[in-house]
Symmetry: C2
Subunit: 416 residues, 2 copies
């Protein structure tokens, strides 16, 4: 069971956008036992699309294309697929109705002929309903292979994969199980780890693959296996990951999570019926944005203050002015005071306080660019750490946000 993903669009090849669609599709397919053999990104060019589909057909059982289904002239995927299958376009009435519905409900401009033409699909195709957009997904079977064409807009594509494509594959194919288990380690380089676990690695059974994924101070160790006997490989992977942990116990920090850190924190807070507030400075709202991206976040997320100015820190977070004068605004003391200030004021169990300098320039404080202080106020006390995330600005904001959530998680687990 192999799949190939073809993402179509000049904007990918000129680097105007990063293709995030294929990673999503790869992950979803892996969950249901389908390996991705190759991802190919190509131009909005009929000859190139035809060539890529033919090559993918030679390698894979499932071929998934994204992109090029819009209503404008640069969108040529649908016509090219129709050509590939020697097919012709016919109008699908359900799709037309759906397009008319979307226009009536959400779009202020009148519906036009080009919009209606999105209801034309190859006669051999099964339509996959796109609940969030006007371009339908299309699925064409040929012998034992299946070709799927999806819009490139990420949230439209994601919904089609989850609610249409995955159930279809699950029904049609007998699939093996793919299991990945990823150990996260912190503090040792990949070659030092490799040396340490050499005996373990050399002794691994053929069907188990080990990969090293180094990234900025952490190395992730991924064990992967694929088999029709789910129970056997599951217990095999669990046995081996326990064996591996024994080798790296001092640097092991946990398993990579299936769900995001934000979702995990949400689950933990809901479970213990606690609430959360955030006092941000250099992260500028990014932590709040991450927390509130989870559906149902309003159950535990009360709100936050982005205190970009000192005055807001003083007035809205009750940070004493003398504290700022004594320690400067980028300091452990101010981070702590921000966390405790909002914890009290917003009447929550948990509160994050973050202050730092995201750069690019040094500001009036003495803090170097990249310096960030994070404090977590929790029912049992305050957890504090400070970091230097270097440059650029965007990286400082991102890493500080992730670290803050990591520390929050730690403090929730510590408490319970």
């Amino acid at each position: 069971m192999q799949a190939e993903i073809i993402t179509i669009g000049d904007e990918i090849l000129i680097g105007q956008i990063v293709d995030t669609n294929s990673a999503f599709i790869g992950k979803e397919l892996n969950k249901i036992g389908v390996s991705v053999y190759q991802i190919t990104s190509i131009q909005d060019d009929a000859a190139h699309i035809l060539k890529a589909i033919a090559e993918a057909e030679a390698n894979a059982d499932i071929i998934i294309l994204t992109g090029g289904l819009g209503p404008t002239k640069d969108d040529i995927t649908k016509h090219t697929i129709t050509e590939y299958f020697n097919d012709s376009l016919i109008q699908n009435d359900d799709v037309l109705k759906h397009i008319e519905y979307l226009f009536a409900k959400y779009i202020s401009t009148p519906i036009s002929d080009v919009n209606r033409q999105q209801a034309l699909v190859p006669s051999k195709a099964t339509v996959l309903t796109n609940r969030f957009g006007t371009a339908p997904g299309m699925l064409i079977e040929k012998d034992e292979k299946v070709f799927v064409s999806l819009p490139g807009v990420p949230y439209e594509m994601r919904s089609l994969i989850q609610y249409e494509v995955v159930p279809y594959i699950q029904k049609k194919y007998n699939r093996p199980h793919i299991i990945h288990k990823t150990l996260m380690t912190y503090g040792l380089g990949e070659s030092a780890i490799a040396q340490r676990i050499e005996v373990f690695e050399d002794g691994l059974p053929k069907e188990i693959k080990l990969a090293y994924l180094p990234n900025l101070g952490k190395v992730r160790l991924r064990l992967s296996a694929k088999s029709f006997d789910k129970e056997r490989i599951e217990s095999e992977i669990n046995r081996l990951s326990n064996e591996l942990i024994a080798y790296v116990e001092d640097i092991f920090v946990g398993f990579e999570d299936e769900s995001s850190m934000e979702a995990l924190i949400g689950d933990l807070l809901v479970k213990e019926n606690s609430t959360l507030a955030v006092a941000e400075s250099c992260t500028g709202g990014n932590i709040s944005k991450m927390i509130s991206s989870i559906p149902g976040a309003s159950k535990y997320f009360v709100g936050s203050v982005v205190s970009y100015s000192e005055q807001v820190k003083i007035n809205e977070l009750d940070v004493p002015k003398e504290l700022i004068l004594e320690h400067t605004v980028v300091s452990a003391e101010v981070a702590r005071s921000m966390a405790l200030g909002i914890q009290k004021r917003y009447n929550v169990e948990y509160a994050i306080g973050v202050t730092g300098n995201a750069g690019p320039t040094k500001d009036k404080t003495d803090a170097s660019v990249g310096q960030v202080f994070i404090a977590i106020a929790y029912p049992g006390g305050v957890l504090e750490e400070n970091f230097n995330f270097g440059q650029p600005r965007e990286k400082v904001i991102q890493r500080a946000s992730v670290k803050a959530l990591e520390l929050l998680k730690k403090s929730i687990l510590k408490k319970s």
Copy 2:
């Protein structure tokens, strides 16, 4: 002049990471007149790597590989390239010295044989110095083609592209000029734009390509051209983009890269020496995050309140409780009161107030999923609008944020 990019690593195909390297490389190559024909992501598998290199050699002049150069056993790119060129590995003394230097300076564990083996390179390769890591870049010429192998760690790869690969290509090849100019528009769908500019699009010279890039409320229109006559296509693209602007004047907000909406607003606020605060609800911090992503935002951005709970709206934004009871929390009245509340409290000229229901469920209010009210308090009054952004949650948050910034810009321009 065509290039192909091959990114190597199982972690890409199983969706454990998003490949951001190819977008970076694509962009850098475009700047120096090299088009990327295709991006291919493949597994850490020798046969697959050999096949991908051979296919790329048939299509492109420049083949750039990233990934698989680490010191551990799952890294096989270097050996596979050596095999592809019927070459053998020899030790490069400069690389060895550099590795020893990095270990002495930054790494606590002692240097080992696997680390030293990173100094082995194919005898036919020119070494590209990796200033930030132990794996060297390698460049092999074959007839008129060139093969480059780079580590997959993004900041190592980026530095090698900028300081080694780009200068090499500039020196070796006579290249055309590639020009992209992207107009950003807000507020009209791509098909409505297409209809409006049909005459313009049909009249475009053959060498100019027009692409539509829709994304959550904005549509980018990209004009692209490639030619050895730089001056001619530059003036042609400028002429055509001015012509295009005339068609979309009411929805045109600027050129991409020049500056985003956030940056534009920043410029306007700095110019009139005004300050800004934000009261967010359903957008959960996203508007603040966008505003604060601009370096120097602290000059005008004072801070914000994310009021996820009613209590925070009442206590921290001075929204009267009766107002909420009378109109519900998702209403024009509450959005206005939030904006005016934070404007006064944070003592700013401009304030955004946003309340809505991002979904996925209906909440206790009567507001349907996707319903959002936006108010902008400015020195001359309050600007208000309401929207239904549909689903899913992520789209509602994004579009509401973009709309809020758009209205803010409008109110700044209106005032001045």
